[in-house]
């Protein structure tokens, strides 16, 4: 935005850049702001209002959420799943990000394409792909039937399948976060560590890991927050008995037309996300989240 505000248009030599800079950027983002206001802020406001007015005014829904075992279980389930997914993407993503940072420029570019390629395919498609892979007539079922005989294991519509699919869908965010942090480490710093007597394992432990920590925190936060609100994947291939909050919200609306209850749950989800991001912001600054 700052670049846009700079007085580089060259029309009037005596223009006052500072004065111009104050309104120009706002003018440029005005369409976006209008769009967000109309299609995001207004509905969000409606949700907030509905959560305390539908069907009757009061905080009944929130009381219900706080006291009803089902909702509490869903919330706990959601947080646990998001945490598990975040940790799994970290464990799986770190070696990949590390290899990317170590690779030569060509190899790194190729790996980057492979990692970001999954961004190009809709995650709905990727979710369906997992349905095929894990399904009753899929390759895994076939393999298990051929090798072990008997009935194939129930893979689909379990916690396992939704976790697996979400890890797959969210791992690029983790890899990119880690890669950004690892790339920022100067090669000379690693070399100096070695020249000072650190064997490779110590270089990794004492230099690479601590310097990658911001990327780890970024990646965990990003994946955790994205996972909290995940809807399609858990609904399509997750266990119907162990739903996540977004699925429950959808269910409330579609099945019971319980808009007030769904709104209250949405508010809880929104608040949870805001709390996570708020903690991150206080500690690290939100502007760093996207690298």
């Amino acid at each position: 935005m700052r670049a846009v505000a700079s007085p580089a248009t060259g029309d009037a030599g005596f223009a006052v850049p500072a004065a111009r800079g104050t309104w120009r950027p706002w003018l440029l983002v005005a369409p976006l702001l209008a769009f967000l206001a109309a299609f995001f802020l207004v509905p969000l406001g409606q949700v907030l209002v509905m959560s305390v007015t539908d069907p009757e005014p009061g905080f009944g829904h929130f009381v219900a959420i706080a006291t009803d075992g089902f909702f509490l279980r869903v919330l706990a389930q959601t947080f646990a799943t998001a945490l598990l997914v975040a940790v799994l993407t970290l464990l799986l993503g770190f070696p990949l990000a590390y290899a990317m940072a170590e690779a030569g420029p060509r190899m790194a570019a190729l790996m980057m394409v492979l990692v970001t390629m999954s961004f190009w395919t809709s995650f709905l498609v990727r979710t369906y792909a997992w349905m095929v892979i894990l399904g009753k007539s899929g390759p895994i079922a076939w393999l298990s039937a051929t090798l072990l005989g008997g009935a194939p294991p129930e893979l689909l519509f379990t916690r396992f399948s939704s976790t697996l699919a979400m890890v797959h869908i969210l791992i690029p965010y983790m890899v990119l976060s880690l890669y950004a942090a690892l790339r920022r480490i100067e090669p000379a710093v690693l070399r100096s560590a070695a020249s000072l007597g650190a064997p490779p394992v110590s270089v990794f432990r004492h230099v690479i890991l601590p310097l990658a920590a911001p990327g780890v925190v970024n990646g965990l936060t990003l994946v955790f927050v994205l996972c909290l609100g995940f809807y399609v994947t858990p609904v399509l291939i997750g266990s119907p008995r162990e739903q996540m909050i977004a699925g429950v919200i959808g269910h409330q609306v579609e099945e019971f037309l319980a808009f007030g209850e769904a709104s209250a749950l949405s508010v809880v989800l929104l608040a949870s996300t805001m709390i996570v991001l708020g903690v991150y912001h206080r500690r690290f600054g939100l502007d760093r989240l996207w690298g």
Partner: protein, 355 residues
């Protein structure tokens, strides 16, 4: 080799398989010696340093430190202190922790490591800065931390790759003296890389001049300045007048010099010049206001005068060639463009370079 502490023989290194970054580089250093690699960018100085430190493997040749071959020894087992151009401090550790690092890697107990690191910080003049992180230190201070960190474990060698490149001129000169003082105090064998000839002159016991992956000359600073072996060295180190010369009488030491006509040179130099052809190097300060007994005389038609206060540089023409003469500031007073200044030079102030 007699007393060679660092010995490098016939190093060859190519990064791309075609061009040689190092082409048969051989040199040695005695214990406690301060050797400087001097050369333009891309001449192979850093590559040589990285081979010594173990970060690059040579295609051929050997490196020996204290009589031990370094072939196959990984960097962390070489015990060589390296200071990189951009300091390469650990950004997540304080100055003291940075300096403690090599000691902790050597299993020195923490308390003892902290004490030793603090002493070393004191030696580089940063006793009060141990708790700061690198980003809270100025360039010069970071430089000192890097130096302390590379020295605290009593390295067999100290390698510095253009360590002062990022500092401004005053700080540079201050740090040069500092490095020299510390190096003397610890008597550590040091290889210092720079592309700045005055820095090399100021610091070194010996200068190794690199060009195109080869060593052009390996000698003391004065030798390099007064008797450069090649035109490249003459041009790269100091200011110079280089004139084609042909020996006409080797016995008497007479040479026909481009623009200056028949001139007296040192017979012992004239006699060893291959084919009697070569280049005469006249440093600008070798051209002095002529006295009656100067064996070689000329009149400089001054075109430009640059005053430095203590001295002045006269740029002008004589006999169809452009010459630069450096004379005392007082003698230069009143000389301006257009002046005709009689100058002279003595045979022993000039140097003949083989063609």
């Amino acid at each position: 080799m007699d007393g060679a502490y660092l010995e490098i023989r016939d190093l060859v290194k190519s990064y791309d398989g075609k061009t040689r970054a190092l082409d048969r580089v051989s040199l040695s250093a005695r214990r406690g010696e301060f050797v400087t690699f001097l050369g333009p960018s891309g001449s192979g100085k850093t590559t040589t340093l990285m081979v010594i430190a173990g970060f690059e493997a040579p295609d051929a040749g050997l490196v020996r430190v204290a009589g031990q071959s370094m072939a196959g020894v990984p960097p962390h087992k070489r015990g060589i202190g390296v200071v990189f151009q951009n300091y390469a401090l650990f950004p997540h550790r304080t100055a003291l922790q940075n300096v403690m690092f090599p000691l902790l890697m050597r299993k020195v107990p923490r308390a003892q490591a902290a004490r030793k690191a603090a002493e070393m910080l004191d030696l580089v003049g940063l006793a009060d800065f141990g708790n700061r992180h690198p980003r809270q230190l100025s360039g010069g201070q970071q430089q000192r931390v890097a130096l302390a960190r590379a020295l605290v474990f009593d390295p067999t060698l100290l390698l510095l790759d253009e360590p002062l490149g990022a500092l401004d001129k005053n700080l540079r000169e201050q740090m040069q003296l500092e490095i020299k003082r510390i190096q003397r105090a610890l008597h550590v064998t040091t290889v210092f890389v720079t592309h700045d000839q005055s820095e090399a002159m100021a610091l070194s016991d010996r200068i190794v001049v690199f060009e195109g992956g080869r060593i052009q000359q390996d000698a003391t600073p004065l030798e390099i300045y007064n008797r450069p072996r090649t035109e490249f060295v003459a041009r790269f180190v100091g200011d110079s007048n280089l004139l084609r010369a042909r020996i006409t009488d080797p016995g008497a030491g007479i040479a026909e010099v481009e623009g200056l006509g028949p001139s007296r040179v040192l017979p012992q130099q004239a006699q060893v010049l291959p084919n009697g052809q070569g280049t005469l190097l006249l440093r600008p300060e070798a051209l002095a206001p002529a006295e009656a007994d100067a064996p070689n005389r000329l009149v400089l038609a001054v075109e430009e005068v640059v005053h430095f206060g203590d001295s002045a540089l006269l740029i002008g023409r004589a006999g169809g060639v452009t010459l630069r003469a450096r004379i005392g500031g007082r003698a230069a007073q009143g000389i301006g463009a257009g002046a005709q200044v009689p100058l002279g030079w003595r045979p022993d102030a000039a140097h003949l370079i083989g063609a």
